[in-house]
C-alpha cells in the first residue's frame, strides 16, 4: 500500500471524498488516495450553484488521463459554491487536493449525516480493506 496524506481534521466518505465542516458549510474534495489512483487529472465537471445533492448520488465527474470517475455526494445538501478555477487548472486536484483542489461547498440538510463519515483511521482502514479484497 502506498503512502497517502490523510489529514486528521477532515472526515471522509467511502467513495474517497474528504469533507470539512465549518458552521453548517461543508467543503468537499477528493482525497490524496483518490488523486494518486486517478493519475493526472485533466477535467473536472461540477454541479451548478443552487443544485441540491442527494447523499450517495453522483454530482460531478472527474477525468484523468487514465480514467473517468463519478464524484459522489458524501452528504445531502445544496451547492453554495463551486471551484471555478478547476476548469482552467484541473491539475490543482493533483497538486493540492485539500487546498486549491477543493470542489464544492454545500450547506448540509441534516448535520446527523456527518456521523456516518469516516475519520482518518477509519478511512485508512477502508483503503486497506479494499486493497485486501482485490488480492
Amino acid at each position: 500500500m502506498g503512502d497517502y496524506e490523510i489529514p486528521e481534521e477532515l472526515r471522509y466518505s467511502r467513495e474517497d471524498e474528504w469533507t470539512k465542516s465549518e458552521d453548517g458549510r461543508v467543503t468537499i474534495g477528493v482525497t490524496d488516495y483518490a488523486q494518486q489512483q486517478l493519475g493526472d487529472v485533466v477535467f473536472v465537471e461540477l454541479p451548478e450553484v443552487g443544485r441540491s445533492l442527494e447523499k450517495g448520488e453522483p454530482f460531478g465527474v472527474i477525468e484523468s488521463v487514465k480514467t473517468v470517475a463519478d464524484l459522489y455526494a458524501p452528504l445531502s445538501g445544496e451547492v453554495l459554491e463551486i471551484n471555478e478555477a478547476l476548469v482552467e487548472a484541473p491539475e490543482s486536484v493533483n497538486d493540492d487536493c485539500y487546498g486549491e483542489g477543493w470542489m464544492v461547498v454545500i450547506s448540509i440538510a441534516d448535520p446527523a449525516d456527518q456521523s456516518e463519515l469516516l475519520d482518518r483511521a477509519g478511512y485508512l482502514q477502508h483503503i486497506k480493506d479494499r486493497a485486501d479484497q482485490d488480492q
Binding site: 487514465k66 480514467t67 491539475e91 482485490d134
Partner: protein, 494 residues
C-alpha cells in the same frame, strides 16, 4: 525474428505550412463559356475574402498523405490486440465485393426497382444477423455501435411510454463500457451501478436488490469486459423481466459467441452489433462505422425506419410505414458500404466458419493468458472467452506501470492493448488477440511481453522511458488533454 527493426521515418509538415502562393494541382483550360458576375449572382452569400486554403501541387498532396500513412499502426501491419475492440483482420474479398459497381455506385435516392440487388443484400443481412443473435428484427441504419445503443435505449423508452408506464432508471454493471451509461443518460435515465461479484460476474442477488418498478432496463455485455461469460445471465434476465424491465445486450463482445450461443436465447430483448468488430469491416479511420440494432418482436414496432420488406412476388422495397417508429437515425440507409462488407464476411465464412472464428478467438485468448500468467497478475482466475485482463500489480515494486508496459510494446512494433479498462481492475491491460493470429504470431507477442517484464526487473528506467524507437518519444498526454490545440490557425495569437 524480431517483430520490429530499424527503419527510416519521414518528417512531414502540415499542408498549410507547405503552401506556396499560386501553386496548383491542376491547370484549368481557358473559359469557353460566358463569364458571369459571381458577386451579383450570389448577393450576400458572396465571399469577399478568399478562404485561406493551402496551395499545393498534386505530388505535394500525395506525398503528404502517403507519408502520414507510414506513421500508422494498422491491422494489416501486425497484431493489434486492443481489448474489447476486436481488431480482426479485414479480408480483402470484402473490399472487392464492396467495389462492385452495383453496390459502390448506387445512389441513396435511387428508385427501389433500380437497386433490387442492394435491397436484397440488406434484407438478407438482416435475416443473418437475426439468426446469429436469436432476435426477430434488425435495423441496419445506425452509423456506429454507440448510435445502435442509443437507438436501443430509445426503443426501450418508447416501449415503456407506449404502455403508459414511463420508468426512470437503468441498471448497469460496474464492469460496463462507458457508452452504456452515456446512452442511458442521453435518454434521460438515471444510472444505477450494479456491483459485480468477487469472481467478476454479475450475480442474481445484486440485480434483485437493485430491481424495482422504476427500472426500465438492465444493460449487460456478455461476455463481460473482463472476458468472462456471465453464467447467471438467464436468471438475471428473468429477474429483470419479472419486474417489468427489459434487457439491453451490448454486442461489443459478440465475437465470443458466434454459432455457440445467442443473446436472444439468453433473454436479451435488444442489442447492437458492431460490424467493425465482429464482422470484419474497417475500424475507425479505415471506414465509417455500422452498428445495426436488433430486437425481439415486442420492440419491433419501434425500430428506426426504413426497413426493407419483400413482396409476395419477390420484389424488395423500403418499409417506412411504421407508426410507432423512433424515427430515422441516418440521412439515408445507414453506411451501406459497410453492410456489403459484413454480408461478404458472413457469406464467405458461413455458419461453420463463423463458429470456427469464435473457437479460434477464444482459444487464442486463453493461450495468451496461459503464457502470461505468472509474469502478470491475473485478477480473475479461470478460463476466459475471447479476451483476457491482466494487471501491473506484480510490477509494483519496480515503479513500472501498465502505461509504461504499453509504451514499451510500441518499441517492439505492437499496438498496445487496451489499458486502464475495465475500471474494476486497477492497472488493467486488456488483450484481445482475435482469431486472425497464428500460434507463431501469438508466441512472438507473448515472448515480447515476457521480455518487457524481465526488463522491468533489470532496467525499469528503460521501460519507463519508452517508446524510444518511434519517430517521437513519449508524448505529454496530460498536457494534450489539459491544453489541447485542436486546429491550425494562421496566427495563434488571433
Amino acid at each position: 525474428m524480431r517483430n520490429a527493426t530499424r527503419g527510416l521515418a519521414y518528417e512531414e509538415a502540415l499542408l498549410f505550412e507547405q503552401s506556396q502562393p499560386g501553386r496548383r494541382g491542376v491547370d484549368l483550360p481557358a473559359l469557353d463559356v460566358p463569364e458571369v458576375d459571381a458577386a451579383a449572382l450570389l448577393g450576400q452569400a458572396f465571399r469577399e475574402e478568399p478562404a485561406e486554403l493551402p496551395e499545393l501541387s498534386e505530388v505535394d498532396v500525395i506525398r503528404h498523405f502517403t507519408r502520414l500513412s507510414t506513421w500508422n499502426a494498422a491491422v494489416d501491419l501486425g497484431l493489434y490486440p486492443l481489448g474489447s475492440c476486436t481488431m480482426k483482420y479485414n479480408p480483402k474479398i470484402n473490399e472487392r465485393l464492396a467495389r462492385l459497381p452495383g453496390f459502390a455506385l448506387a445512389h441513396p435516392h435511387s428508385p427501389a426497382a433500380q437497386v433490387q440487388g442492394l435491397l436484397q443484400l440488406i434484407y438478407e443481412l438482416e435475416a443473418s444477423l437475426a439468426a446469429i443473435s436469436g432476435l426477430d428484427r434488425v435495423s441496419l441504419q445506425p452509423a456506429a455501435g454507440a448510435q445502435g445503443e442509443l437507438a436501443g435505449i430509445m426503443m426501450i423508452r418508447a416501449y415503456h411510454e407506449s404502455r403508459g408506464e414511463p420508468r426512470h432508471k437503468v441498471m448497469i454493471p460496474d464492469s460496463a463500457h462507458g457508452t452504456n451509461p452515456a446512452s442511458a443518460a442521453l435518454n434521460g435515465y438515471d444510472v444505477v451501478s450494479v456491483p459485480s461479484g468477487s469472481d467478476g460476474l454479475l450475480h442474481p442477488e445484486a440485480v434483485e436488490a437493485a430491481m424495482n418498478g422504476d427500472v426500465a432496463a438492465l444493460m449487460i455485455t456478455n461476455p463481460n469486459t473482463l472476458g468472462l461469460f456471465e453464467t447467471h445471465i438467464g436468471r438475471v434476465c428473468e429477474i429483470v423481466h419479472a419486474g417489468g424491465g427489459l434487457v439491453y445486450g451490448d454486442g461489443a463482445n459478440l465475437n465470443a459467441l458466434l454459432g455457440h450461443s445467442r443473446p436472444g436465447d439468453m433473454g436479451i430483448d435488444v442489442m447492437h452489433f458492431n460490424l467493425h468488430k465482429t464482422f470484419s469491416t474497417p475500424h475507425g479511420g479505415g471506414g465509417p462505422g455500422a452498428g445495426p440494432v436488433g430486437v425481439k418482436e415486442i420492440l419491433a414496432p419501434f425500430l428506426p425506419v426504413p426497413l426493407v420488406a419483400r413482396d409476395a412476388d419477390g420484389q424488395y422495397h423500403w418499409d417506412e410505414e411504421r407508426p410507432q417508429t423512433i424515427g430515422r437515425l441516418h440521412g439515408n440507409h445507414g453506411n451501406v458500404g459497410m453492410l456489403v462488407r459484413a454480408y461478404a464476411y458472413i457469406r464467405s465464412l458461413g455458419p461453420e466458419g463463423l463458429r470456427r472464428c469464435t473457437e479460434m478467438a477464444v482459444l487464442n485468448a486463453n493461450y495468451l493468458l496461459s503464457r502470461l500468467r505468472g509474469a502478470f497478475h491475473v485478477p480473475f482466475e479461470g478460463s476466459v472467452m475471447h479476451e483476457c485482463v491482466l494487471s501491473d500489480r506484480l510490477l509494483a515494486e519496480t515503479g513500472v506501470t501498465t502505461l509504461d508496459v504499453a509504451k514499451r510494446l510500441i518499441d517492439h512494433g505492437y499496438h498496445p492493448p487496451t489499458i486502464y479498462f475495465p475500471l474494476v481492475v486497477a492497472g488493467a491491460l486488456m488483450i484481445e488477440p482475435t482469431e486472425s493470429e497464428s500460434r507463431e504470431s501469438l508466441d512472438r507477442f507473448a515472448d515480447t511481453l515476457l521480455d518487457i517484464v524481465r526488463e522491468t526487473h533489470e532496467d525499469p528506467q528503460a521501460v519507463m522511458a519508452a517508446p524510444q524507437r518511434t519517430r517521437l518519444s513519449r508524448l505529454d498526454e496530460t498536457r494534450a488533454a489539459r491544453r489541447p490545440v485542436l486546429r491550425w490557425q494562421p496566427d495563434p495569437k488571433e
